[in-house]
Point group: D2
Chain length 247, copies 4
């Protein structure tokens, strides 16, 4: 089954990334990329145990070498398989600081992962996505999805590094969408506008009902539905917020 299309998820943590990997892993052999193996090991086991197929690769998406090494492994494992879906969910270190107290390194941290990393990941996955686009048996158009945030469209005070990275990733997504849609690749950008319900945000909005946070599984469901869209109906951007979000 070397030619069966695979899905690749970059930025697998305990939230959106894991949910997306689980969802796409139910349909495709799936590759989980994260810097820290702790972030994917359990999930890889879970998917494999449940009849799916998953591998995890420790990868720094901001490093071209690291990503190249990861794709060498992917190709060894899956034999240059076409890519049905590639989801970029990695995010740089979040820094909120008065501008005059922010170091150049702090400022750039977001860019190295969210923009440069997204570029490197796109270059690595697009050949496989194009291969899938040419496969007349492909069930759904190959899909490349980028996870954005409120800061993708609104740059608040003290968020210059984070917001400029998220704006930049959105531009990258739009540029790739315009270049590759005519070749059959569906590129989408998701503006996640709200707090995602993950272990790290457990204490946030505690006094509010569950509908004050975004469900990670619900994001995965929405990404999957983007993947199901036909070549005659590509959505290039969605926003996502919980019903109780102010916007």
């Amino acid at each position: 089954m070397a030619t069966k299309a695979i899905a690749i998820v970059a930025g697998v943590g305990p939230g959106t990334g894991a949910a997306v990997a689980r969802k796409f892993g139910a349909a495709y052999p799936v590759v989980l990329l994260a810097r820290n193996p702790e972030n994917y090991e359990e999930l890889v086991q879970e998917i494999n145990k449940n009849g799916g197929k998953a591998i995890g690769i420790s990868t720094d998406v901001s490093s071209e070498e690291s990503v190249k090494a990861a794709f060498t492994k992917i190709n060894q494992e899956y034999g240059n398989a076409p890519v049905a879906a590639a989801i970029f969910n990695a995010s740089g270190r979040f820094v909120r600081k008065p501008l005059l107290e922010m170091s150049v390194e702090d400022f750039g941290a977001g860019w190295h992962v969210s923009v440069k990393g997204a570029f490197i990941f796109s270059q690595a996955t697009l050949p496989g996505l194009l291969k899938h686009a040419e496969d007349s048996d492909a069930k759904h158009p190959p899909t490349l999805i980028f996870t954005g945030a409120t800061a993708s469209v609104k740059a608040n005070a003290q968020m210059s590094g984070f917001a400029s990275a998220k704006y930049g990733m959105r531009a990258l997504s739009q540029s790739i969408a315009r270049e590759f849609a005519p070749k059959g690749v569906h590129v989408a950008h998701a503006i996640i506008d709200g707090v995602i319900d993950i272990p790290r945000t457990k204490e946030w909005l505690k006094d509010q009902p569950a509908e004050a946070k975004i469900g990670a599984d619900d994001i995965a469901e929405s990404y999957w539905n983007l993947h199901l869209q036909s070549k005659r109906c590509f959505t290039n951007e969605i926003d996502i917020r919980p019903m109780l979000e102010k916007w």
Copy 2:
């Protein structure tokens, strides 16, 4: 079955409206509104024949009286049923004219249907949508969807009437989304950016492959997927275009 939730589609023609009615009609008893009965009669028969339940009502959405009369009939038929989904797909007369040659009536034609009509339709359906939001057995959050166009976000020359109506409808959608999301109603606006493949556009883009046009069924599928989103994941805006669209 008086309390079973229903779906209401305004602006049923041979394209998006029919596809949406068919899709939602597979899950809910459905009401089809159009000025001209010719636009829904066959489809009503089709849905009823296939085991669904549909009624059509000749309605001018730009007239409060006409919409009130329609809802009196709906309530007679379905006994004040909660509304699971309401889709506003009506559009005013499209006028492309040099500004100085456009009559005030031409200019306002779009607004009367797309904005005032959307407002009247929203007022008529929101009580039923709210009722569904309070129903703990409801499968999916009640959904109110507005069909927009390229002109919802770009106002080209000679399109002042059409574009100002579409911008206005988008504002209405956003305002309602903000007011009713906390009450559990999911409001979404779709920017349909491209030519929809319907009988009327048969001769357009004839020399191009099928992927140059948007599939009406594909739009319906995307609307349905919006409806499936949970209260922890509301998408308030999507864009839709075929893979060969320039944007």
Copy 3:
């Protein structure tokens, strides 16, 4: 001096309109339009006393007949003069109400003035603006400016009528800009994002410094600077807010 270019300001009240009329009245014979003569009478006297030339005409911009009557008077007074600047500053009744409590008339009130009125005003002034564009002695390109608001780009809850009108006016402005720029007419839209310091808002933000509100004279200054822009540098949109505004 029948052919000297004039300026026309619609929506003259005690705030922006008056300041704009004063500013443009220092350079051009000026026409002040408002429904209520009380809104322009004093100012007309002031401008005429200070060596300028001004006339006021009671006009309902939402009525084609009323605007036509006004332009008959303007032409009688100024002999079909070219129009150097036309500023649309009128705004419909502001209504903030829960959607389900808003009447169709309330909802439409904004549109009739801000969109239909802006359209009628544009049709009435564009021939004079085009005439000025063809005048090789014209000092500055003819300028048509629309006064928008925060609600031109953000539709908050309970503001559906106001916001859909402001969105619609913005679309109108963009469409006219695209059609008439190649003919030399400079069209601009101003997003006034904050409270303007006028008698009516005296009690608002009282505990805050003067920089919490927008100066009406400052808006007029900015509009004048838009007017000074050359044909090689048209700004089609500006935002304006006081330094203490949150956005």
Copy 4:
């Protein structure tokens, strides 16, 4: 006159930068920054000869060290003078390439100058701008202006590096505007949407009239008018295009 406020222009070339330096140099002692001294030497002489005061410093804005060295010189020359205006006009190497042929270095080239450079420049100038904001004798609020492009709001195919940098700079501008406006600093972003008429673009649009290009002097004029705005009227974004531009 050590405390007289100065203006600083980064990215002085034969176009916008030079025009801006000339314009602000007529009112303030001015500092011209460019990597290549050829880009400012003549202009420095011109301004000094015409009764102004100018110095040029060879600076790489993408390097913190280089910018620090430049500001040491500025402080030596002008004695820690307050900064009345700082204009960031530098732009990274423009690369238009299919995504799969673009190197990571090509992709990042824009960011290093347009985003990281803009951040470093902002950090270097904001202390002087804040000093000017506190000076009650200051004629105009201190102004920090960023020069953007069409690609600041539209990311075309094959422009991923350039556009993601321009989007990122726009985010930076908005974030700084929000943080520093309450402290009296006016931050503005200009979307230059069209070809600027400079020696390098002489052969472009040759068959078209002068109004097909943007005048560099006209941009400078618009920037100056932004600088003149009061604390009760800050414009944070303008677009600029020539009258014959399609948009």
